[in-house]
Amino acid sequence: MNRSKVLAKLVLESTQADVNLTVREHRGLQSVKLSRMLYRQPQVLTPARKDVLVVTPWLAPIIWEGTFNTDILNEQFSLRNATIGLTVFSIKTYMIFLKQFLQSAEMYFMVGHRVIYYIFTDKPEYVPYLNIQKGRQIIILEVESYYDHWQDISMQRMEMISNFCQERFHQEVDYLVCSDVDMRFSDHVGVEILSSLFGTLHPGYYGLNRTDFPYERRPQSQAHIPKDEGDFYYIGALFGGSVPEVYKLTKACHEAIMVDQANHIEAIWHDESHLNKYLLYHKPSKVLSPEYLWQQQQMDHMHDQEMIFSKIIRRKKLKVLKKNYQLKNW
């Protein structure tokens, strides 16, 4: 093992809270110097948020409004010329969500940075035409979905993302953000989310005890998590990281799904269950607060706590669109 090569890799792989480093920039190990910026002084004796946890026990930041300075982060990422890939699956009837997803992404997602939208679809001809801002592009990846049930399609995503990580993503982008399509952006989602591996707190469970998390509880499943384990309940609809880390995650989840299939068991929340298992044992280097993925339907069931929730959730950035669940049973 060539230690200096290994150590160069150590530096250049994104690490906890290290927003500076991306995988592709191996050439030139110089630290990029920020230009003069004016902003209020951070106050050591004044927490940014007093109502929520903003750092995990393994020192990964939890991204809440008020914890970060967008200008500083944008400057750090611009200097690195990072490119962000956004994967979305627009399969069968889910195509109807794509236009609003992309239009809202143009307004709110990584504005000012280089973005590639990877649209996985079985109907490339139906992908809507959109005016895309400079520095951003749409790449359509035609895939065959041999499944009929939405749960299977959901799980198939893991396989497809991992395949394309190898085939092209590692050469085209530095980071991958993997999102559900039945959503729209309603507020800034920027480089503050980027790190080597991130998950998002499910809006329905962030206030609960781990024993109430809907982890897969059957020991026969690869996604099994016992009642005394678990940090958070992550939502399957938004995760990401550097290409190598997303590759590892999706590959591991895909294989776990295959093992389950061979054992005639399906995890209770499908790919989301496997994602949770993976992130328990491979802790993310950033965690996105529920601001990043909001489901009003879910919140409607929690009347007592709505007041608390609305104070805590200052901004709702990605909203799940109300849909007729009949859609899922075509």
């Binding site: 809270a17 480093l21 004796l45």
Partner: protein, 353 residues
């Protein structure tokens, strides 16, 4: 595969499926020439993302993180409500209560990280070395591999201190200097030189510390990240205008009154070897320029460190728990632990030689 571990309860791993898949992926990647990077990173379930993924490139070991039981992190309960625990650029500020040592130790153990600690024991400062090393043995990176790099002009006087397993002392002979300021300034140059010559090949992280100190409490892997600085204990509550930055525009270390995040202490900084090499090289070069212009920054290498960390923001910031002076500052309630403290000078004989 070597080092594969099984978690006890309720979790089985399909080793052979992973092995076969891995070999096929490896073959594909090698044949398609996509390179070492992806190959190294195709380790299945092998690493916790976060600090350092060097281990993946170690070869075919797929070490599984094991099951751990600990209190659940509570999203609606901040760990500290009295201090800032995250900088505006999302670097953790490391205070007691913010981290779980067991979880972090597990992450770093899996990577088999080696930590280098540089300390300068030049001329009369040799008198501090024994206590420094003895207390480091008790509190510094216990359970991990450590190399103490002792820079000294008098190698024969380096005390023998019994060391735990996996730890060693390397004595590096350097010329003596006239004043503590000179020593302070030369540190940057020496660390930079030795980083290139040796440290890159021997350790993963470098921690650069003052010697006239002792450890009184845990200083562990929670501090490690590509680039870290420590909040100076005298200024953590001060407004930036009061920071003792270099204020003369002619100096390379100059910081205007309307800029500055924190005032970092020169006595405790570090990071990955590559990052420390860049930092110390840049600071040394800045000092050379100042010298050529007939200038010396007001707080010497500390001034240059502050300029550097303003332009290249640290990926972790250590709270003043990590560098304290009990005599001068007492023990305020915001400090839950005092980990690394100044040795009262009166207690040791430091007659000039």
């Amino acid at each position: 595969m070597a080092g594969m571990r099984r978690a006890p309860a309720g979790k089985t791993k399909c080793c052979s499926l992973h092995t076969v898949t891995f070999l096929l992926v490896t073959l594909f990647l090698v044949l398609s020439g996509t390179g070492f990077r992806i190959l190294g990173n195709s380790m299945l379930g092998s690493r916790q993302a976060g600090v350092g993924k060097r281990g993946e490139l170690d070869g075919l070991q797929a070490v599984e993180p094991s099951r751990m039981v600990y209190g659940q992190p509570k999203v609606l309960t901040p760990c500290r409500n009295d201090v800032l625990v995250l900088t505006p650029w999302l670097a953790p500020v490391v205070w007691e209560g913010t981290f779980n040592t067991d979880v972090l130790n597990e992450q770093f153990r899996l990577w088999n990280a080696t930590i280098g600690l540089t300390v300068f024991a030049i001329r009369k400062y040799m008198v501090f070395l024994e206590l420094f090393l003895q207390t480091a043995e008790k509190y510094f990176m216990v359970g991990h591999r450590v190399t103490y790099y002792v820079f000294t002009d008098r190698p024969a006087d380096v005390p023998h201190v019994p060391l735990r397993e996996g730890r060693r002392v390397e004595v590096l002979k350097v010329p003596g200097a006239l004043s503590w300021q000179e020593v302070s300034m030369h540190r940057m140059q020496m660390i930079s030189n030795f980083s290139q010559q040796r440290f890159l090949h021997e350790v993963d992280y470098l921690v650069c510390m003052d010697v006239d100190m002792k450890f009184c409490d845990h200083v562990g892997v929670e501090i490690l990240s590509p680039r870290f600085g420590t909040l100076h204990p005298g200024f953590y509550g001060a407004a930036r205008e009061a920071f003792t930055y270099e204020r003369r525009p002619q100096s390379q270390a100059y910081i205007p009154r309307d800029e500055g995040d924190f005032y970092y202490a020169g006595g405790f900084f570090g990071g990955s070897v590559v990052e420390v090499l860049q930092l110390t090289t840049a600071c040394h070069q800045a000092m050379v320029v100042d010298q050529a212009n007939g200038l010396e920054a007001v707080w010497h290498d500390e001034s240059h460190l502050n300029r550097y960390l303003l332009d290249h923001k640290p990926t972790k910031v250590l709270s003043p728990e990590y560098l304290w002076d009990r005599q001068k500052l007492g023990w305020p309630p915001v400090m839950k632990k005092l980990r690394f403290v100044a040795v009262p000078k009166g207690h040791l004989d430091i007659r000039g030689s």
